[in-house]
Symmetry: C2
Subunit: 234 residues, 2 copies
């Protein structure tokens, strides 16, 4: 069975956390909306059936359709060795992923504090305020939390010596913050040496490296979650 991933074709966005897991697992999948007619197929599926997704990304696995990024990773992690085996450990890695979900939304809100339906150009002043707030208060809290977890586990991955989908997502967080806020992130990085080492460890995994060098990896751009707007950086 080939998985079908449904997500917007021109951005990394929330779909990227799923792509990274599928790629690291070496799972067979089609990124449906990047193919001909794929976006229309995606839109149709959102209004269909007994369990229509509210929004992309969603994953079709045979007859099953799973939506919400963290829920998709919860499902994939159990099947592809990207989550631990006990129920308690699975709840824990899922809990960490949900904290990353919260962080991702706060990253999105730096450029869209007045809501997702208005243009960035219509909310530049509040975006600047929210971004300052985000870097002063929220980044230290979130990344400090994950840095401490890696430290507590011997400095390798967030739950110990074995990789989980949470580590793949933390890789993406570091990459994204570096892209969107190069100066702010550069000034902050000395506080998170273990997360940076984790990022390098993920990037060096053969399947991830091959993915990052391929055309399957969509470049960062200003339609995604992580946007480089000079006026929001330092």
């Amino acid at each position: 069975m080939k998985y079908e991933l449904y997500y917007w074709p021109y951005i990394q966005g929330r779909g990227e956390y799923v792509r990274l897991a599928l790629e690291d697992a070496g799972a067979a999948y089609v990124d449906v909306a990047r193919g001909s007619g794929g976006t229309s197929a995606m839109m149709r599926m959102m209004g269909e059936g007994a369990t229509p997704p509210f929004a992309p990304p969603f994953l079709k696995a045979g007859k099953l359709v799973v939506g919400q990024t963290a829920n998709i990773l919860h499902y994939l992690g159990a099947r592809h060795g990207l989550a631990p085996k006990t129920e308690a450990s699975r709840l824990w890695v899922h809990q960490l992923q949900l904290t990353i979900t919260d962080l991702v939304l706060e990253i999105h809100d730096t450029h869209h504090p007045l809501g997702p339906s208005l243009y960035y150009e219509d909310q530049k002043a509040p975006a600047k305020k929210r971004t300052d707030e985000f870097w002063n208060e929220r980044v230290p809290k979130y990344l400090g939390y994950f840095e401490d977890l890696v430290k507590g586990n011997g400095g390798f991955y967030v739950t110990g010596r074995r990789i989980t989908y949470v580590d793949l997502s933390l890789f993406q967080i570091v990459e994204g913050l570096r892209y969107a806020f190069p100066k702010r992130m550069n000034a902050f990085e000395k506080k998170i040496p273990l997360l940076l080492a984790l990022r390098d460890r993920v990037a060096a995994r053969p399947k991830i490296r091959a993915y990052l060098e391929s055309e399957r990896r969509i470049p960062f751009n200003e339609d995604g979650i992580f946007r480089r707007y000079k006026e929001l950086d330092l």
Copy 2:
């Protein structure tokens, strides 16, 4: 075993979705932070052990500590008949709860568009804009989605004839929007007759009714997620 719920003692907040599930299940629990020394105990637990929660609410079940509202409900639902039994169905109700999580954060952002660390008084103008956007674009999308699901399932609960924790959360969403935005919600309610009927069905459940009449139910107030600020209503 008595569950221990850890959450801020003066607000409903995100903890309320867990309280409603525990109450409807008739589960034995202590709302720890509402007791003497409880808030200090909660703060201590956030820095302790191998799996420290990032933020309240979290639930202690024996030795297990589970954080993130939707994750707690995923755990409780399976144990107390508030979730279906198959894996596919459980992923589906969890997916719905994660969509409610997104909605709750958007509700919070109506009064805190510039971030959670600044006061409302320092962001009144952007709050008004974000609230307009929320009611014009987001409420119809979210509540319309759930209304359609209830309709598709025969008009009873969101997944059919049997209640799940998602229905308890939808009850709270309707209550909260009525509290925070009485005029806007009053104007909107004609579009969601089935969700209102679902709200009444939940409120009439004996254990929920007893809970709502008890002192265990903290009244809505302007420190929670749902805040009544006249200038944000119509």
